[in-house]
Symmetry: C2
Subunit: 211 residues, 2 copies
DNA sequence: TAATAAGTTTGCAGGGTCTGCATCTTTGCG
DNA sequence: CGCAAAGATGCAGACCCTGCAAACTTATTA
């Protein structure tokens, strides 16, 4: 939403600020008290808006802790569709997701807080990825399209499986990383996970750090 | 919970009956009206108990539609721990889960209804997965133990990934099957999915039914 | 600049989920 | 029968979430 000059107007900037304020308040409060003990009222109050306004920005209580950016999914799907056909799908996905991880490196403090929130309230990982359910369907469609299916054909098992497994690999990576942070960089865990997927999930050597 | 004769007493039988009545009422109502339009009050009423009692059996509204049997996870974990060490983990998991699928074949009618519920309310698949979150952690621990880690060592990335991916593969299979039912048997879709996992998720031939 | 249109925030009412607690009923067992 | 344990129920209360209408702010047009 930009005005005719292509510049975000005051309106849009205020909206983004409000959203950011709510999301940040949510994470900070949850890091301290646990997500399930932080009410919508408390978040809204900390962000300086009414509780009703909270629901203008997030569909549910839990969504506030997830910072889901719809643009991410959009970019990933475009990458899947536009990548050279010769590349394995799994590689395309890995790189597309890896590119989005820049935010994690840049805003390290807020992501550390989120790691703390997830440690305290593991159910959020699932609820969060649950929120990505629709995303996953669309990703599966993008994969199917890449593999030659027309946009209107039903999505087959393979694209569905790839999309589901890829997002799950991210979740498992996060879980592992959260447990080991701050010793390890997330990007490394992430790449290890995709390595396993591409190798048919054969068991690593017993002395490997993965085991 | 059995009495000293090893026979379930009236008390236990009534409990199981109540639980079954609630679960069945939930699925039947949801198949018709959609899970999100079926209140706890309606389910309880159809099952002949009070709404308060519903929450003595299920932790949440959504749980009633999932029919999660804790014994299933227990058996799968035991299979993982006790299977011959020579077998690939993925194969062990596939067979362990396949063995549990007998119920799907036997009680076909109720599972068809559930397929309908899932078609109408896809978010339940994720909530279901969420309900299995704790299960997944335990499964990961079982995998880790099988691979030689002691019971108290932290679970590494690989076991975590295998457990997460395996349960996700089941979910993706269900989604695919729900879409194609009743043309295909679930067990076949399920085995195809594990086939893909074991092969490193390489893309199938373009004329394959999976694409 | 003034008027109007369009978008946001807010309060309020209301339905629904879920929990803790006290009470009453049923079951298990001597 | 009579007691103790377990389950069922009603109720109060906190919280989540939605629709609606009024108030307010920003954008656009005359």
């Amino acid at each position: 939403m930009k005005n005719k000059d292509g510049v975000p107007g005051l309106r849009e900037r205020k909206k983004q600020a409000t959203r950011a304020a709510l999301a940040e308040a949510a994470v900070r409060l949850a890091a301290e008290h646990g997500a399930e003990n932080v009410t919508v009222e408390a978040i809204s109050s900390a962000a300086g808006v009414s509780a009703r306004t909270f629901f203008n920005y997030f569909d549910s209580h839990d969504d506030a802790f997830l910072m889901v950016d719809p643009a991410v999914g959009e970019r990933v799907r475009r990458a899947v569709r536009e990548a050279p056909a010769a590349l394995p799908v799994l590689d395309v996905l890995r790189e597309a997701f890896a590119a989005e991880l820049a935010d994690v490196e840049e805003r390290h403090e807020i992501w550390s807080l989120r790691a703390k929130v997830f440690q305290r309230s593991p159910y959020l990982l699932v609820r969060g990825l649950g929120a990505h359910m629709a995303e996953e369907q669309e990703l599966a469609a993008a994969v199917a399209e890449r593999l030659g299916g027309g946009p209107d054909e039903p999505v087959g098992l393979y694209p569905r499986l790839v999309a589901a497994v890829a997002t799950t690999a991210i979740r498992a990576s996060i879980e592992d990383w959260v447990q080991r942070t701050p010793d390890v960089a997330f990007i490394d865990v992430f790449r290890d996970a995709f390595e396993h997927l591409g190798s048919g999930l054969v068991a690593p050597a017993a002395d490997s750090p993965d085991a």
